[in-house]
């Protein structure tokens, strides 16, 4: 075999290695989800969804953590959406190239890399202790809102950047002010991209466990929260609690709850991808 053939062979070998690497993560994920389905699917019925927590594995349901997750999700969306979109609009449309905008930029990029558990420590001290909200739904939602702030800001900026400047110019030519242009033209044209970012950020928030454990969300809450100041649990914390128990019954419960959590996460991701595709087609 001469050196040219050798090089070609190496080239082909790397191709197969590359395909293998690309697929291995996905294959493992499929095997894993398959295993969870086998363990957990038989456990899922209507009673599992609507039952309150119990000491006995076969009697336990996920109603309180599920409702806790829904509460946290809605509050987080309400709190984080206006602030982060406003910040994104400011950075993309108003900020001049000066030290303040440079600082804002490096700061947001840094915040995106801060471990989620650190946000938990911040929430514990500021929301739970100083603002005296206790380990409530509101304290959890505020903590998660700060956590996903940088994600939505970055997505908002990308979406606004993608709006062609001809749209802005046309609006200015008609005599619109800067804010009128943004409100009536830029934001509607970028809404698909912003929405995608918001949904992806919220799907991340739904799966967050560590910061909520740190602020003191409990694994066992007897009733679903009725208001923003009530105690709460969320699905991932319930899963974590069930995993930590030795009996097989709770492991099956954990698998079943994971199926529900993954379902929520994947549906949210699917909706996000759908909005993104629709929006990108509209932009072109």
């Amino acid at each position: 075999m001469n050196s040219i053939q050798k090089n070609r062979l190496k080239d082909q070998l790397f191709k197969f290695w590359g395909i293998g690497c690309t697929l291995i993560g996905l294959v493992l994920l499929v095997i894993f989800i398959g295993g969870i389905l086998i363990d957990g699917l038989s456990r899922i019925d209507w009673a599992f969804i609507t039952d309150l927590p119990s000491r006995k594995a076969e009697k336990s349901g996920i109603w309180t953590p599920l409702m806790g997750s829904v509460w946290v999700l809605i509050l987080t969306a309400i709190i984080s959406f206006p602030i982060s979109v406003a910040a994104g609009v400011y950075l993309e449309e108003y900020a001049k190239k000066n030290r303040l905008s440079a600082l804002l930029e490096i700061n947001i990029s840094n915040l995106a890399g801060v471990p989620s558990i650190i946000y938990g420590l911040l929430g514990l001290e500021v929301f739970v202790r100083i603002m005296d909200l206790g380990a409530s739904v509101l304290a959890g939602a505020l903590t998660l809102s700060l956590l996903i702030l940088p994600i939505i800001i970055v997505a908002t900026r990308e979406a606004i950047k993608a709006v062609p400047s001809s749209i802005r110019d046309a609006s200015y030519a008609l005599g619109a002010s800067k804010w009128q242009t943004i409100w009536n033209q830029v934001l509607p044209a970028s809404s698909g991209g912003i929405l995608t970012g918001v949904i992806l950020a919220l799907s991340r928030a739904v799966g967050e466990t560590a910061p909520l454990i740190v602020i003191g969300a409990l694994a066992y809450v007897p009733f679903a929260p009725q208001g923003p100041l009530d105690q709460f649990s969320v699905l991932p914390i319930q899963i974590f609690n069930w995993i930590s128990r030795p009996q097989q019954g709770f492991i099956d419960n954990a698998a079943a709850a994971i199926i529900i959590l993954l379902l929520i996460t994947f549906i949210m991701n699917g909706i996000a991808v759908y909005f993104r595709n629709k929006w990108q087609k509209k932009l072109q």
Binding site: N7, F14, G18, L29, Y94, G113, I117, I239, I251, L262
Partner: protein, 292 residues
């Protein structure tokens, strides 16, 4: 009137942007204040040199080294998994794969990062550890090996996606010059494209390391809760993040020294990730100027 309205709107948008600064200041203040009270009672020297971490025992030691070694050990294992696989994926997708394949596989790979980490923790504890125990009989039920491997799988898309962007941004002319000299795709990839995209690849690796250091649930579930200074991947260890979770689950009095240990641990974690993130931001900025 219109001018006033525009002015008010601009300032309120600015104040939203300033919330992000307030968050950073808040994090630093909270960590610093609580850690300061902690270091009034525990000497900084002991904190960095004592080889035991037993704040919850009667005989108390406050040496961060065991937690640090647990964190670095799981991170190292995760990166050893994610780096070769993630880089191979990025090179394959940018240099070999047909466009349509690339377009369908990328969102699927992102899915790996979208799965909540508590789910990966379950995977590590219930599936990977029992599987590995068939080959490594003395593997403990909690260990850094399976936690690290599973964490590596989770951060594959962090490495592959950012590296691929960097590889893809390398100008076509460089590749064509290499092909023109008779080089294969493999030779072109490793001798021309990867070196040209090296800064972007380094950024992706740094961010993956920072992500692995801060990862919590996988290690809290699968690596154990026993702080020990070791490089043995088969025994239980505890990471900084897992310790914070362990204390948070218990009933610790606000203002007590135990309560403050989680902030001392937290500030250590924050400093590490902050340095890594700042480094990657610097490199990225330099690299952007090179190509645009």
């Amino acid at each position: 009137m219109r001018k006033i309205r525009e002015f008010v709107i601009e300032k309120s948008l600015l104040s939203s942007a300033l919330v992000t600064i307030a968050v950073t200041v808040g994090i630093i203040l909270v960590l610093a204040i609580e850690a300061f009270s902690f270091f009034k009672e525990v000497s900084i020297f002991d904190f960095f040199t004592d080889t035991e971490w037993t704040p919850l025992f009667t005989k108390k030691h406050y040496g961060i080294l065991p937690l640090l070694s647990g964190t670095l050990l799981t991170t190292f294992i995760a990166i050893s998994v994610a780096l070769p696989i993630g880089l191979s994926i990025s090179i394959y997708l940018s240099e070999y794969a047909p466009r349509s394949f690339r377009k369908t596989i990328k969102p699927l790979l992102e899915l790996l990062a979208a799965v909540p980490s508590v789910v990966y923790g379950f995977f590590a504890l219930v599936v990977v550890t029992p599987y590995l125990q068939q080959f490594i009989p003395n593997l403990s039920g909690f260990n850094s090996l399976s936690a690290g491997i599973v964490m590596g799988i989770m951060i594959i898309p962090f490495v592959s996606s950012l590296s691929e962007d960097a590889l893809f941004a390398v100008p076509k002319a460089l590749r064509e010059a290499s092909y023109g000299m008779g080089a294969t795709r493999l030779q072109t990839a490793f001798k021309v494209v990867v070196p040209a995209a090296s800064s972007g690849i380094i950024v992706s690796i740094i961010l993956a390391i920072s992500r692995a250091i801060g990862e919590t649930m996988i290690v809290a579930i699968a690596a154990g809760q026993q702080p020990r200074l070791t490089l043995d991947p088969t025994v239980p260890v505890e990471t900084i993040t897992a310790y914070i979770v362990q204390v948070s689950l218990g009933d610790v009095q606000h203002g007590s020294l135990e309560y403050r240990t989680i902030f001392a641990a937290g500030i250590t974690l924050f400093v590490f990730t902050f340095l890594l993130n700042t480094l990657s931001f610097r490199i990225r900025k330099k690299y952007r100027q090179k190509y645009e």
